[in-house]
Subunit: 585 residues, 2 copies
């Protein structure tokens, strides 16, 4: 194979006519069908030549943006000693996603799913002075997470490629500065890889960290749900603040009503002939100290257990046995007549509801007109519900809309969580020892590749943005070896390659239909078709994959563009824009 | 940090004054001291910014050479399912170097030490026609081998970076063609990374394959011993053909001599007053079928157990109990009076020796004048000894010399070993199903980095070849912030950076001595020192790290070189050559 021009006759890119049965979403199906990836085992993939070309392009975009904000590239090992994970406490906390093994000398090691422990251990005896801070290090590396149900191809795999960066600071202000730089860099990475995305408020999860933001590529195949507003606000529904609009069912006084067979909010609303927004939903559990906690949210909302745990000091649902012991009834729990010592937390939105429709703590009965502060006490008002579309935007008050998204990257402010646990300090200006203030920042490289395909495909295949395409232009000679067609195709390929454009020539002895189908399936941004009939008029056909637009272009025009670009040192984006322009006329 | 110019004040490159106690060899010591790597666990390292810059340069050289011979880059996973290793038989054969774990669904997986199984499985249902062959795929990836005694830093680590390539063919001729291309590419890789090397005959080891060659970087720290000849011949002593020069101790007839207390060859030679070359050494063992095998080699040589196993059909030493059962005596074994059924193999070099000095199979006695064919029978003559310096070159007959080397890369002809075991076939031109003929080809990327340092260092530190240096030129302003010095240093840095040269500026507020020591330790190929005194005469000092030569150069000369290079579009090697030329005067 030439180093300059890819030849389809030599390229190893086996395409599939049939969609593999276990591939459910477009990116998984198309990356398999177009010969970009192959499955090696459940959740474990090999990148074939085309796939790895795309990965390298994404990596280079990420690398350029990291270097531009002064982050320095390193490479940490995959194998991580258990000792470091014991120091942070995560060896026990992490769960079965952490892949562990024992080496031949009986030392426990794990395969890195993330590198907080290593990055702290790496510098803790050497990055000693405040004068050396701030510092940001990053790596691009393979990561491991033993997903219980790997699926959706590269979106949820067990071995995947990530860029992870870590920063060390002397102050929150310095952390905020780097965090802001990273946010901007991540936006540019999404822009440059052609993603339609939203930065959204998120939850820290297992990494920890209170301030965090996810970059979501909007896609129906995404596993995350997010709410957003035209004002620019966006949040993961797992984390977003909920401001609901409950309605009031007004009755003169509290009354107990027989509701035989009514167990769900939907049944209750129907039975009373009121909207679900006028009802109140209850959920009971225990906090980490074993105390009974009863939560109330608007009937049309769900309790967000992450929020509940944060407010209540841990939260786990009661077992059926617990319920019975407390005399509580599923389907008719309420705030009146709770067991002694129960701690009642209600969603803030319910503060606007003076009279509640809620369970009576008696099977088959509900209360209407139950008044907080009169008929029962609320110990604490808090944000407890999972936000949903129609709720109020916390920034501007307009109703929120919802979408699904793929989390392609995330930034965290870790604070001193890891440096304190691992006793990693620097000497401050006043001579005291202080733990580093830290941030961490991840980009899913292989996941970004899948997200791009989710956003850039149609019924014919993939349509790569030029910035990450495995090559920019595919030249399709219709009759390989023809004495008119072949030399024109080859010269065009050479001319474009000399401008730095990445060119592939489909020199296979296949029917035109096969070549067109493969070119659309693989998704080269620009196709140039060279055929006998067009050449008779001095023309080739140029096609833009993303729009499907095609047009006859004279060879003279192409030659003029090439020689103009050579004289003027045009860069690749300019040449591609010229080719696109020819199609648009 | 600027994207163009590295600044020492921002670069994370912690240097150490003391040599770490567990680092025995130069590359390990210097890569730690100069801040290129840090140890994460036994045999497991992190590459710091400078170290990873060198790794990426080596990777890119390898990538260019692979692409140039038409090899296509892919990326296979680290995690490999046990099923595939059972197919090849290596799950049981590989030994404790293979790191294994069980995933959460109780499936056995291993961390790839090599990828023959995966590469065969990758294509076996898709690379179906002889028309698609030959094909060569490669990857650059982290590999795992659980060494029992990791040591020498990057030379023998448990997690390391390799390039591995695999080729598929329809014939031995086609394999030979790619094998030859790889040999040439590997030679160019060694040349371009600045290595003094020898391609040597080697043994296939655990990978298998009969035709194989190792590229050895010559270095005293190398774990391999090799013999070579001025005619160009070279071989690993584990694998090289042995042509020894035994001498004859002539006596009229066979005689049994009492040799009380004599157990070693040295003692026997001294006792008889003859050279060791006149004695014959014996070794007894069993082959894979349990048959007694007795081996004889010239007394000054050692039995090569790899050769013995190949000739005898497996070879394992007798236990003390076995020896006793057979009536054999360590220290006085010989060919006369061996147990019934013993199979006698003697080194070919002994064919030239009509009378042997050898054990008498009786404790405290030896034979002199024992004649093969008369007093005893040799069942088979073969190449059994480990070659050593002074033996005859198999190509030209001159005496061999010896050296130590670091194996940086190896090429193998695998034949159909893996494709046959894993039932991986293509359809041949005649319609029959045939197993692929295969080759595999590895380059140790991180090991190459260590080998370069072993060959390019002195008492002051590392001296990188420009092709793999973390940056080409270090500009050292002696007084940072000085109104004369600083602007000149910065302008020089910008001018060189605009030419594409990688520049680092030591803008730390440190004493000149510290800066000079660090520059020599880190090993930038060219240093440019900007000081007040020199500037007064319009000069800076340019130093070439590898030779230590230094010379005052006028700023005018430097400026002329820069503007000439800009006008003429000079490439980086030319600019560096110009700077070197200024030092050489």
């Amino acid at each position: 194979m030439s180093t300059d021009i890819l030849r389809m006759s030599e390229l190893y890119a086996p395409t599939l006519k049939e969609t593999p049965t276990d591939a459910e979403i477009a990116s998984h199906q198309l990356l398999l069908r177009a010969g970009f990836i192959r499955k090696t085992a459940s959740g474990i993939y090999t990148f074939l030549p085309l796939g790895y070309k795309v990965i390298k392009k994404i990596e280079n975009i990420v690398r350029e943006e990291m270097d531009a904000i002064g982050s320095q590239e390193i490479l940490m090992p995959v194998l991580q000693p258990a000792e470091l994970w014991h120091e942070s406490g995560r060896w026990n906390d992490y769960g079965p996603e952490l892949m562990r093994l024992c080496d031949r000398h009986d030392h426990d090691v794990c395969l890195g799913p993330t590198h907080e422990e290593l990055i702290v251990a790496l510098v803790r005896n050497e990055l000693r002075s405040y004068k050396q801070l701030p510092l940001t290090l990053y790596q691009i590396q393979v990561k491991f997470r033993d997903e219980i149900r790997p699926r959706f191809g590269l979106l949820r795999s067990r071995e995947f490629i990530m860029k992870d960066a870590y920063s060390y600071h002397t102050s929150q202000e310095s952390l905020q500065q780097t965090y802001d730089d990273m946010m901007e860099a991540y936006g540019r990475i999404c822009d440059r890889t052609g993603l339609d995305y939203r930065p959204v408020q998120a939850d820290g999860g297992q990494i920890g960290g209170s301030v965090t933001c996810e970059f979501m590529a909007l896609a129906d195949a995404g596993e995350a749900e997010l709410v957003y507003c035209s004002c620019g606000y966006a949040a993961n529904t797992e984390a977003g603040e909920c401001i609901a609009f409950p309605t009031v069912y007004d009755v003169p006084a509290m009354e107990k009503i027989a509701t035989p067979g009514v167990h769900t909010i939907a049944e209750l609303a129907e039975f009373l002939g009121i909207p679900e927004t006028s009802t109140v939903k209850a959920l009971s559990g225990k906090n980490d100290e074993g105390k009974l906690v009863v939560l109330f949210v608007p009937g049309d909302h769900e309790v967000n257990e992450l929020k509940a745990a944060r407010v209540a000091g841990g939260f786990s649902l009661l077992t059926d046995e617990d319920m019975e012991a407390y005399g509580l009834h599923k389907g008719s729990m309420g705030p009146v007549g709770l067991p002694e010592g129960a701690y009642v937390i209600a969603d803030r939105s319910l503060q606007a509801v003076p009279k509640w429709v809620v369970g009576a703590n008696e099977d088959g009965f509900h209360l209407v007109g139950a008044q907080p502060g009169v008929d029962f006490t609320v110990d604490e008002w808090a944000d407890l519900s999972t936000v949903k579309p129609g709720d109020s935007c916390p920034e501007c008050g307009l109703p929120l809309e919802s979408a699904r998204g793929i989390e392609v990257s995330q930034v965290f402010q870790l604070g001193d969580k890891y440096s304190r646990a691992m006793n990693a300090t620097y000497m401050a200006e006043d001579g005291s020892e202080q733990p580093y203030i830290m941030g961490c920042y991840g980009v899913g490289i292989s996941r970004t590749m899948a997200a791009i395909v989710e956003q850039h495909n149609d019924e014919h295949g993939i349509s790569w943005p030029a910035s990450v395409a495995p090559a920019h232009v595919c030249i399709v000679p219709l009759t390989v070896g023809d004495e008119d067609v072949q030399p024109v195709a080859e010269k065009l390929a050479r001319d474009l390659a000399e401008l730095g454009v990445e060119v592939v020539i489909d020199d296979r002895k296949e029917r035109p239909g096969v070549k067109f189908a493969d070119a659309d399936l693989i998704g080269w941004p620009i196709q140039v078709v060279v055929g006998k009939r067009g050449l008779a008029e001095g023309n080739v056909e140029v096609k833009r994959r993303s729009t499907g637009e095609r047009r006859d272009v004279s060879l003279t025009t192409l030659e003029e563009m090439v020689s103009f670009s050579k004289r003027n040192g045009a860069d690749i984006p300019k040449v591609i824009a010229s080719l696109r322009g020819m199609v648009e006329g």
